[in-house]
Protein backbone atom coordinates (compact mmCIF):
# COMPACT_ATOMS: atom_id res chain seq x y z
CA UNK A 1 0.00 0.00 0.00
CA UNK A 2 1.26 3.46 -0.83
CA UNK A 3 0.09 6.75 0.60
CA UNK A 4 1.83 9.88 -0.68
CA UNK A 5 5.48 8.88 -0.93
CA UNK A 6 5.26 6.41 1.93
CA UNK A 7 4.94 2.68 1.40
CA UNK A 8 3.38 0.47 4.09
CA UNK A 9 4.55 -3.11 4.56
CA UNK A 10 1.72 -5.58 5.23
CA UNK A 11 3.94 -8.58 5.88
CA UNK A 12 6.08 -6.70 8.41
CA UNK A 13 9.69 -7.45 7.49
CA UNK A 14 11.86 -7.40 10.61
CA UNK A 15 15.40 -6.32 11.45
CA UNK A 16 16.56 -9.47 13.19
CA UNK A 17 20.19 -8.62 13.79
CA UNK A 18 22.57 -5.74 13.37
CA UNK A 19 26.19 -4.77 13.91
CA UNK A 20 28.22 -1.57 13.94
CA UNK A 21 31.90 -0.70 13.72
CA UNK A 22 33.07 2.80 14.60
CA UNK A 23 36.13 4.98 14.96
CA UNK A 24 37.55 6.39 18.18
CA UNK A 25 35.90 9.83 17.86
CA UNK A 26 32.50 8.18 17.41
CA UNK A 27 33.14 6.00 20.46
CA UNK A 28 33.26 9.13 22.61
CA UNK A 29 29.84 10.21 21.36
CA UNK A 30 26.41 9.28 22.69
CA UNK A 31 26.05 6.36 20.27
CA UNK A 32 29.52 5.01 21.06
CA UNK A 33 28.35 2.44 23.58
CA UNK A 34 26.21 0.69 20.94
CA UNK A 35 29.13 -0.13 18.66
CA UNK A 36 30.29 -3.74 18.52
CA UNK A 37 33.83 -2.93 17.48
CA UNK A 38 35.77 0.31 18.01
CA UNK A 39 38.88 1.04 16.03
CA UNK A 40 41.87 2.26 18.01
CA UNK A 41 43.66 3.01 14.80
CA UNK A 42 41.81 4.79 11.97
CA UNK A 43 43.73 2.75 9.41
CA UNK A 44 42.30 -0.54 10.78
CA UNK A 45 45.65 -2.27 10.10
CA UNK A 46 45.37 -1.51 6.38
CA UNK A 47 47.63 0.58 4.14
CA UNK A 48 45.05 3.19 3.06
CA UNK A 49 41.94 4.83 4.51
CA UNK A 50 39.85 3.48 1.63
CA UNK A 51 40.93 -0.07 2.45
CA UNK A 52 40.11 0.57 6.10
CA UNK A 53 36.63 1.77 5.11
CA UNK A 54 36.13 -1.36 3.03
CA UNK A 55 37.30 -3.59 5.86
CA UNK A 56 34.97 -1.86 8.36
CA UNK A 57 32.01 -2.42 6.05
CA UNK A 58 32.93 -6.03 5.45
CA UNK A 59 33.33 -6.61 9.21
CA UNK A 60 29.96 -5.00 9.96
CA UNK A 61 28.20 -7.17 7.37
CA UNK A 62 29.73 -10.45 8.51
CA UNK A 63 29.17 -9.56 12.17
CA UNK A 64 25.49 -8.77 11.53
CA UNK A 65 25.07 -12.14 9.81
CA UNK A 66 26.94 -13.90 12.63
CA UNK A 67 25.03 -12.20 15.47
CA UNK A 68 21.71 -13.30 13.98
CA UNK A 69 22.93 -16.87 13.93
CA UNK A 70 22.79 -16.99 10.13
CA UNK A 71 25.15 -18.51 7.64
CA UNK A 72 26.29 -16.89 4.43
CA UNK A 73 23.99 -19.13 2.39
CA UNK A 74 20.94 -17.86 4.33
CA UNK A 75 21.36 -14.38 2.87
CA UNK A 76 19.71 -13.71 -0.48
CA UNK A 77 21.06 -10.29 -1.36
CA UNK A 78 23.17 -7.40 -0.04
CA UNK A 79 22.15 -3.75 -0.43
CA UNK A 80 25.07 -1.49 0.26
CA UNK A 81 26.76 1.76 -0.64
CA UNK A 82 29.24 4.38 0.60
CA UNK A 83 30.45 7.88 -0.12
CA UNK A 84 33.38 7.23 -2.43
CA UNK A 85 33.53 7.35 -6.23
CA UNK A 86 32.05 4.26 -7.90
CA UNK A 87 31.00 3.14 -4.38
CA UNK A 88 34.31 1.26 -4.23
CA UNK A 89 34.21 0.39 -0.54
CA UNK A 90 30.85 -1.37 -0.85
CA UNK A 91 31.80 -3.09 -4.10
CA UNK A 92 35.10 -4.35 -2.70
CA UNK A 93 33.48 -5.39 0.58
CA UNK A 94 30.94 -7.41 -1.43
CA UNK A 95 33.83 -9.48 -2.85
CA UNK A 96 34.16 -11.13 0.55
CA UNK A 97 30.67 -12.63 0.40
CA UNK A 98 29.07 -15.29 -1.66
CA UNK A 99 25.67 -13.63 -2.21
CA UNK A 100 24.46 -11.10 -4.80
CA UNK A 101 25.17 -7.42 -4.31
CA UNK A 102 23.06 -4.43 -5.30
CA UNK A 103 25.04 -1.20 -5.03
CA UNK A 104 23.40 2.03 -3.94
CA UNK A 105 24.49 5.62 -3.86
CA UNK A 106 22.42 7.99 -1.85
CA UNK A 107 25.07 9.93 0.12
CA UNK A 108 24.03 10.27 3.78
CA UNK A 109 20.72 8.47 3.22
CA UNK A 110 22.28 5.28 1.83
CA UNK A 111 21.40 3.37 4.98
CA UNK A 112 17.73 4.38 4.89
CA UNK A 113 17.55 3.66 1.18
CA UNK A 114 19.04 0.19 1.64
CA UNK A 115 16.59 -0.51 4.48
CA UNK A 116 13.67 0.70 2.38
CA UNK A 117 14.59 -1.37 -0.68
CA UNK A 118 15.48 -4.41 1.42
CA UNK A 119 12.18 -4.24 3.29
CA UNK A 120 10.29 -3.87 -0.02
CA UNK A 121 11.96 -6.97 -1.42
CA UNK A 122 11.31 -9.03 1.72
CA UNK A 123 7.74 -7.76 2.04
CA UNK A 124 6.98 -8.68 -1.55
CA UNK A 125 8.17 -12.19 -0.83
CA UNK A 126 10.89 -12.33 -3.50
CA UNK A 127 13.57 -13.06 -0.93
CA UNK A 128 13.72 -14.12 2.71
CA UNK A 129 16.77 -12.35 4.06
CA UNK A 130 18.48 -9.17 2.97
CA UNK A 131 21.53 -7.46 4.41
CA UNK A 132 21.36 -3.65 4.33
CA UNK A 133 24.67 -1.97 5.10
CA UNK A 134 26.68 1.19 4.67
CA UNK A 135 29.97 2.69 5.74
CA UNK A 136 32.04 5.85 5.56
CA UNK A 137 35.42 7.09 6.72
CA UNK A 138 36.29 10.62 7.79
CA UNK A 139 39.73 10.62 6.16
CA UNK A 140 38.65 9.20 2.78
CA UNK A 141 35.58 11.47 2.56
CA UNK A 142 37.64 14.50 3.57
CA UNK A 143 40.09 13.73 0.79
CA UNK A 144 37.38 13.28 -1.81
CA UNK A 145 35.14 16.22 -0.93
CA UNK A 146 37.31 18.74 0.85
CA UNK A 147 41.01 19.27 1.53
CA UNK A 148 43.98 17.02 2.40
CA UNK A 149 44.11 16.18 6.11
CA UNK A 150 47.43 17.88 6.75
CA UNK A 151 46.47 21.15 5.08
CA UNK A 152 46.53 23.90 7.68
CA UNK A 153 43.09 25.38 7.04
CA UNK A 154 40.49 26.35 9.60
CA UNK A 155 37.12 24.65 10.04
CA UNK A 156 34.17 26.97 10.39
CA UNK A 157 32.22 26.40 13.63
CA UNK A 158 29.23 24.88 11.76
CA UNK A 159 31.39 22.28 9.93
CA UNK A 160 30.34 18.66 10.22
CA UNK A 161 32.51 15.58 10.49
CA UNK A 162 31.92 12.55 8.32
CA UNK A 163 31.47 9.46 10.48
CA UNK A 164 34.22 6.87 10.61
CA UNK A 165 32.14 3.76 10.87
CA UNK A 166 30.07 1.09 9.23
CA UNK A 167 26.83 -0.62 10.06
CA UNK A 168 24.82 -3.48 8.73
CA UNK A 169 21.57 -5.19 9.53
CA UNK A 170 19.72 -8.29 8.42
CA UNK A 171 16.13 -7.76 7.28
CA UNK A 172 14.22 -11.01 7.45
CA UNK A 173 10.71 -12.34 6.83
CA UNK A 174 10.87 -14.03 10.26
CA UNK A 175 8.64 -12.41 12.88
CA UNK A 176 11.17 -11.29 15.50
CA UNK A 177 13.22 -8.22 16.31
CA UNK A 178 12.39 -4.71 15.10
CA UNK A 179 9.46 -4.50 12.71
CA UNK A 180 9.71 -2.23 9.67
CA UNK A 181 6.20 -0.82 9.29
CA UNK A 182 6.65 1.73 6.53
CA UNK A 183 9.19 3.70 4.59
CA UNK A 184 9.16 7.04 2.79
CA UNK A 185 10.87 7.56 -0.53
CA UNK A 186 12.59 10.92 -0.47
CA UNK A 187 12.63 13.68 -3.05
CA UNK A 188 15.73 15.67 -3.90
CA UNK A 189 15.48 19.08 -2.24
CA UNK A 190 18.09 21.54 -3.41
CA UNK A 191 17.87 24.91 -1.72
CA UNK A 192 21.12 26.09 -3.21
CA UNK A 193 23.51 25.59 -0.28
CA UNK A 194 26.98 25.50 -1.84
CA UNK A 195 29.13 25.52 1.31
CA UNK A 196 31.00 22.17 1.46
CA UNK A 197 31.45 22.65 5.19
CA UNK A 198 27.77 23.03 5.94
CA UNK A 199 26.22 19.68 5.06
CA UNK A 200 23.55 20.06 7.72
CA UNK A 201 22.01 23.11 6.03
CA UNK A 202 22.12 21.35 2.65
CA UNK A 203 20.33 18.26 3.96
CA UNK A 204 17.83 19.77 6.40
CA UNK A 205 15.22 20.78 3.76
CA UNK A 206 14.84 17.14 2.69
CA UNK A 207 13.70 16.21 6.19
CA UNK A 208 12.03 19.21 7.68
CA UNK A 209 10.78 21.68 5.12
CA UNK A 210 8.03 21.23 2.57
CA UNK A 211 9.11 22.76 -0.72
CA UNK A 212 7.28 25.47 -2.63
Amino acid sequence: MKKGNTVFFNNSPCITSFAAVCGSKEKEGVLGKFADITLDDDMYEESTFEKAECKMLSTAISLAIQKGGYLEKDIDVLFSGDLLNQIISASFAARDFNFPFLGLYSACSTMSESLLLGAMLVNAGYVNRVVAATGSHFASAERQYRYPLELGCTRPPQAQWTVTGAGGCVISSEKKGVKIVNGTMGKVCDFGVTDVNNMGAAMAPAVAIIGP
Partner: protein
Protein backbone atom coordinates in the same frame (compact mmCIF):
# COMPACT_ATOMS: atom_id res chain seq x y z
CA UNK B 1 10.25 32.14 4.44
CA UNK B 2 7.39 33.76 2.58
CA UNK B 3 8.78 33.57 -0.95
CA UNK B 4 6.64 32.08 -3.66
CA UNK B 5 9.09 31.55 -6.52
CA UNK B 6 11.86 28.98 -6.48
CA UNK B 7 14.70 31.55 -6.50
CA UNK B 8 13.15 33.59 -3.78
CA UNK B 9 12.61 30.46 -1.71
CA UNK B 10 16.28 29.48 -1.92
CA UNK B 11 17.38 32.99 -1.06
CA UNK B 12 15.15 33.06 2.00
CA UNK B 13 16.46 29.69 3.11
CA UNK B 14 20.10 30.75 2.69
CA UNK B 15 19.43 33.89 4.71
CA UNK B 16 17.81 31.76 7.39
CA UNK B 17 20.84 29.43 7.44
CA UNK B 18 23.09 32.44 7.88
CA UNK B 19 21.17 33.55 10.98
CA UNK B 20 21.50 30.04 12.48
CA UNK B 21 25.26 29.61 11.91
CA UNK B 22 27.36 30.08 15.02
CA UNK B 23 29.15 33.40 14.55
CA UNK B 24 32.79 33.37 13.46
CA UNK B 25 34.87 35.03 16.17
CA UNK B 26 36.58 37.58 13.97
CA UNK B 27 38.39 39.43 16.72
CA UNK B 28 39.83 36.30 18.33
CA UNK B 29 40.76 34.87 14.90
CA UNK B 30 42.47 38.09 13.85
CA UNK B 31 44.38 38.20 17.11
CA UNK B 32 45.68 34.62 16.88
CA UNK B 33 46.44 35.07 13.15
CA UNK B 34 48.39 38.23 14.00
CA UNK B 35 50.25 36.50 16.82
CA UNK B 36 51.22 33.32 14.98
CA UNK B 37 51.83 35.08 11.64
CA UNK B 38 54.01 37.61 13.43
CA UNK B 39 55.89 34.84 15.21
CA UNK B 40 56.62 33.08 11.91
CA UNK B 41 57.88 36.36 10.48
CA UNK B 42 60.07 36.92 13.57
CA UNK B 43 61.55 33.45 13.15
CA UNK B 44 62.19 34.31 9.48
CA UNK B 45 63.84 37.57 10.48
CA UNK B 46 65.97 35.76 13.06
CA UNK B 47 67.11 33.26 10.40
CA UNK B 48 67.87 36.18 8.10
CA UNK B 49 70.03 37.88 10.74
CA UNK B 50 71.87 34.62 11.35
CA UNK B 51 72.65 34.21 7.64
CA UNK B 52 73.67 37.85 7.42
CA UNK B 53 75.99 37.26 10.38
CA UNK B 54 77.38 34.22 8.52
CA UNK B 55 78.27 36.51 5.62
CA UNK B 56 75.44 36.17 3.08
CA UNK B 57 73.89 39.19 1.38
CA UNK B 58 71.40 40.29 -1.28
CA UNK B 59 69.60 37.58 -3.28
CA UNK B 60 71.59 34.80 -1.62
CA UNK B 61 70.44 35.96 1.80
CA UNK B 62 66.75 36.11 0.76
CA UNK B 63 66.99 32.75 -0.97
CA UNK B 64 68.63 30.98 1.95
CA UNK B 65 66.07 32.38 4.41
CA UNK B 66 63.17 31.24 2.20
CA UNK B 67 64.70 27.78 1.81
CA UNK B 68 64.95 27.31 5.56
CA UNK B 69 61.36 28.49 6.11
CA UNK B 70 60.03 26.24 3.32
CA UNK B 71 61.91 23.32 4.82
CA UNK B 72 60.41 24.04 8.25
CA UNK B 73 56.89 24.27 6.75
CA UNK B 74 57.28 20.92 4.96
CA UNK B 75 58.89 19.27 7.96
CA UNK B 76 56.13 20.34 10.36
CA UNK B 77 53.49 19.22 7.84
CA UNK B 78 55.15 15.81 7.68
CA UNK B 79 55.13 15.59 11.47
CA UNK B 80 51.40 16.44 11.47
CA UNK B 81 51.92 19.63 13.47
CA UNK B 82 51.28 22.31 10.84
CA UNK B 83 47.57 21.56 10.39
CA UNK B 84 47.13 21.99 14.14
CA UNK B 85 48.89 25.33 14.04
CA UNK B 86 46.70 26.21 11.04
CA UNK B 87 43.50 25.33 12.85
CA UNK B 88 44.45 27.75 15.60
CA UNK B 89 46.11 30.48 13.59
CA UNK B 90 44.02 30.56 10.39
CA UNK B 91 45.40 33.14 7.98
CA UNK B 92 48.43 33.62 10.23
CA UNK B 93 49.95 30.35 9.08
CA UNK B 94 48.48 30.29 5.53
CA UNK B 95 49.83 33.60 4.26
CA UNK B 96 53.59 33.23 5.00
CA UNK B 97 55.76 31.07 2.72
CA UNK B 98 55.45 28.19 5.20
CA UNK B 99 51.72 28.02 4.36
CA UNK B 100 52.56 27.60 0.70
CA UNK B 101 54.98 24.80 1.57
CA UNK B 102 52.19 23.17 3.59
CA UNK B 103 49.74 23.42 0.68
CA UNK B 104 52.18 21.49 -1.55
CA UNK B 105 53.32 18.94 1.03
CA UNK B 106 49.90 18.02 2.41
CA UNK B 107 48.40 16.70 -0.89
CA UNK B 108 51.71 14.96 -1.58
CA UNK B 109 51.38 13.05 1.71
CA UNK B 110 47.66 12.49 1.19
CA UNK B 111 47.92 11.05 -2.33
CA UNK B 112 51.07 9.00 -1.75
CA UNK B 113 48.78 5.99 -1.21
CA UNK B 114 47.74 6.22 -4.89
CA UNK B 115 51.34 5.67 -6.05
CA UNK B 116 54.43 7.79 -6.53
CA UNK B 117 53.74 8.96 -10.08
CA UNK B 118 49.96 9.02 -10.53
CA UNK B 119 49.33 9.79 -6.90
CA UNK B 120 51.96 11.92 -5.23
CA UNK B 121 53.59 13.58 -8.23
CA UNK B 122 50.40 14.17 -10.21
CA UNK B 123 48.28 15.48 -7.37
CA UNK B 124 50.91 17.41 -5.45
CA UNK B 125 49.66 20.73 -6.82
CA UNK B 126 45.91 20.26 -6.39
CA UNK B 127 45.82 22.99 -3.75
CA UNK B 128 48.82 25.11 -4.72
CA UNK B 129 48.17 24.88 -8.48
CA UNK B 130 45.75 27.79 -8.46
CA UNK B 131 48.21 29.95 -6.51
CA UNK B 132 50.99 29.15 -8.99
CA UNK B 133 48.82 29.82 -12.06
CA UNK B 134 47.59 33.18 -10.82
CA UNK B 135 50.98 34.04 -9.34
CA UNK B 136 52.70 33.51 -12.70
CA UNK B 137 49.86 35.24 -14.55
CA UNK B 138 49.99 38.35 -12.37
CA UNK B 139 53.79 38.30 -12.68
CA UNK B 140 53.42 38.45 -16.47
CA UNK B 141 50.88 41.26 -16.22
CA UNK B 142 53.10 43.34 -13.95
CA UNK B 143 56.03 42.61 -16.27
CA UNK B 144 54.06 43.92 -19.26
CA UNK B 145 53.10 47.06 -17.35
CA UNK B 146 56.80 47.68 -16.56
CA UNK B 147 57.71 47.08 -20.21
CA UNK B 148 55.36 49.74 -21.52
CA UNK B 149 55.93 52.32 -18.80
Amino acid sequence: MTGRTRDNYNENYLNYVKTQDPPTQHFKNCLSAFGVGGLICCIGQFIRYMFEYAGLSGDELAGATSIVLIFLGCFLTGLGVYDRIGRYAGAGSIVPITGFANSVTSPAIEFKTEGWIYGMAAKMFTVAGAIIVFGVFSGVLVGLVYLFL
